[in-house]
Amino acid sequence: MRGADYVVRRTGAALLTVFVAITLNFVLFRAVPGSAITALRCFHCTKQFKAALEQELGLNQSMWQQYTIYLGSLAEGDLGTSFTDHRSVWQNLKEPIMNTLPMLVIATVISVVIGVAAGVLSAWRRGTRTDRLNTWTALSFYAMPTQWIGLMVVFYIALRFGFPVAGIRDPTLGILEEPSTWTVIADRLRHLALPALTLGIGLYGEYALIVRSSMLETLGEDYVLTARAKGLKNFNIVWRHGLRNAMLPLVTLIALSFGYILAGAIVIEEVFSYPGIGLAVINAIDQRDYPVLQGAFLLLTFAVIFFNFVADLLYFKLDPRVTA
């Protein structure tokens, strides 16, 4: 396989980063002013309870001991126990993750499709009013706080057109009769539609700008002049020579933007009360449920590192010129 050593090196780097993230996670949460326990907010948390909890969690041991225990339990897949409902952190996060995934996928697809269309159009009509309008629209959406776009969408669109603005499913389904699979799917989609759309619109701007500049750069390449000299029509040149080359940076950008789309998802879920990982994080913050917050931080960080790693590999694989 071409560049096997490149893959090995990137894997090594990714794993190292994971390790740094884990350590950072540990350090950060031990750095909570007071201790994580004293900051805890829950109803039945008397002083004795908190002391017992501290003992149980081993927070009165030395840092080094705690670190070792921490690594050990991570290796077993144990992310800790939630302070608020005492289930395992993983149990708390599993379903939210499942809920968020389809939203991320749909939002990415939407933003890429709109972004590419806008970018190509702009590059094609470079310097014209269409280009300027397009570019500034993309920039504007990119500049808007994602949560604000969400609020505007809820306010102006959702309520007006009867889209659901909370939750992931219609609570009345299944009360009177067993809903068909199609009804369930349709219901899920209805609840997903606006959040995913909003997220997509907030993000397309970045893609549009990159595609535009990548396309312009490609269109300035010598082989485009060659194609023109060969007698190809403009459209064919763009289609056959331009797109393939211009899209190269886009693929890696999509992978690299994962962190950004995740950030957007968090606030969008708050606005739409969508029970995904974002909302779980926000609730954990509100309740100062540090184990859940820690677990979420780790999972999110791992996911982003993973996608950056994928981006590295993709870039290498897609461009035949890149050597390890």
């Binding site: 740094v20 950072l24 949560q147 604000w148 609020l151 300035g220 403009n234 962190g259 606030v267 926000i282």
Partner: protein
């Protein structure tokens, strides 16, 4: 063998293959001139920024009401006395916006400045000293880069974020890395330039060299980058505030957006509580982008002539022959 004896051509050589336009000067004065006189985009952006900054600075004088005083019923709609209505606490929205500008802009500029100081120092040291220092600094930078910014920001803000200063520090610490890399690259190229080498040969000390030769070359780029970072910082502050993690005693545009959600503005049909804060944030971020991008473009012109366009070359009638026949 080629005609090496002939000196190279003047401007206008081999046009379709090379950059057609001369650079407008890369000195600070040149960039500024281009900015203010030549570039409409930068001028407009600067104007918008100036207006907001002026409003923020003049807040105590020009705000119609107190930002903490209830002056009417919850979510009262806009009227002649309250141009943007009242919020969920009965406080005048326009006042809140003006005071919010103070905090948002302050955090934006302060965080960006701090990021510039950290990143600029790291970049200059790394690029200038090279060798071991460079490797070590770049390793550190890389580690900062690979840790995803948003989860880290959320956690840090959750733990330490209750004061404005902490928020500024957190944002600066997360976003200094791109500046460092950019400056490092620039410093490296400046260092290799002849006059720097000459100065060093003449015995100029490192600090003097950095101050007199490196800094002037690097500063325009640093400033451009800082302006762009302001946009990122304001975006970050808005984000943190929305999650309820900011300084609870301060009003910022981000907080106002949060308030509109928690205060039920949507269901009270109170557009004046929802729309304005977001518009302000968007405008300022766009303005920063306009200015910063123009500056960067002036410093790194990449005017490549495209080979394709909807437009085609034009035909003209041949010029009449001037001069004696």
């Amino acid at each position: 063998m080629t005609i090496e004896a002939l000196p190279p051509a003047g401007p206008g050589g081999g046009l379709p293959a090379t950059d057609p336009a001369p650079v407008a000067g890369t000195t600070s004065r040149g960039v500024l001139r281009q900015l203010v006189l030549g570039d409409r985009q930068a001028a407009f952006g600067s104007l918008v920024l100036a207006i907001f900054i002026a409003l923020a600075l003049a807040a105590p004088i020009i705000s119609p009401y107190s930002p903490r005083g209830k002056v009417g019923p919850v979510y009262a709609p806009p009227s002649s006395e309250h141009l943007l209505g009242l919020d969920d606490g009965g406080i005048d929205m326009l006042t809140l916006l003006i005071w919010g500008a103070r905090v948002s802009l302050l955090v934006g500029f302060a965080a960006s400045l701090m990021a510039m100081l950290i990143g600029g120092t790291v970049g200059i040291l790394s690029g200038y000293l090279g060798g071991r220092t460079d490797t070590v600094l770049m390793r550190i930078t890389d580690y900062f880069l690979v840790i995803p910014d948003v989860p880290l920001m959320i956690v840090a803000a959750a733990i330490w974020g209750q004061s404005l200063l902490n928020i500024v520090i957190i944002i600066a610490v997360i976003y200094w890395t791109s500046t460092a890399r950019l400056i490092r690259a620039q410093v490296k190229s400046v260092r290799e330039q002849v006059y720097v080498k000459r100065a060093r040969a003449l015995g100029a000390g490192n600090i003097r060299l950095i101050a007199k030769h490196v800094l002037p070359q690097v500063t325009p780029l640093l400033v451009a980058n800082t302006v762009l970072t302001v946009a990122t910082a304001i975006f970050a502050e808005t984000y943190i505030a929305f999650l309820g993690l900011g300084d609870p005693s301060q009003i910022s545009w981000g907080k106002l957006i949060q308030n509109s959600l928690s205060g039920g503005a949507i269901f009270s049909d109170a557009w004046w509580a929802i729309v304005p804060p977001g518009v302000c944030v968007t405008l300022v971020i766009l303005a920063c982008t306009m200015v910063g991008q123009s500056m960067e473009d002036a410093l790194n012109p990449r005017l490549k002539v495209g080979h394709l366009s909807v437009h085609r070359f034009r035909l003209r009638r041949p010029p009449l022959k001037a001069g004696a026949e």
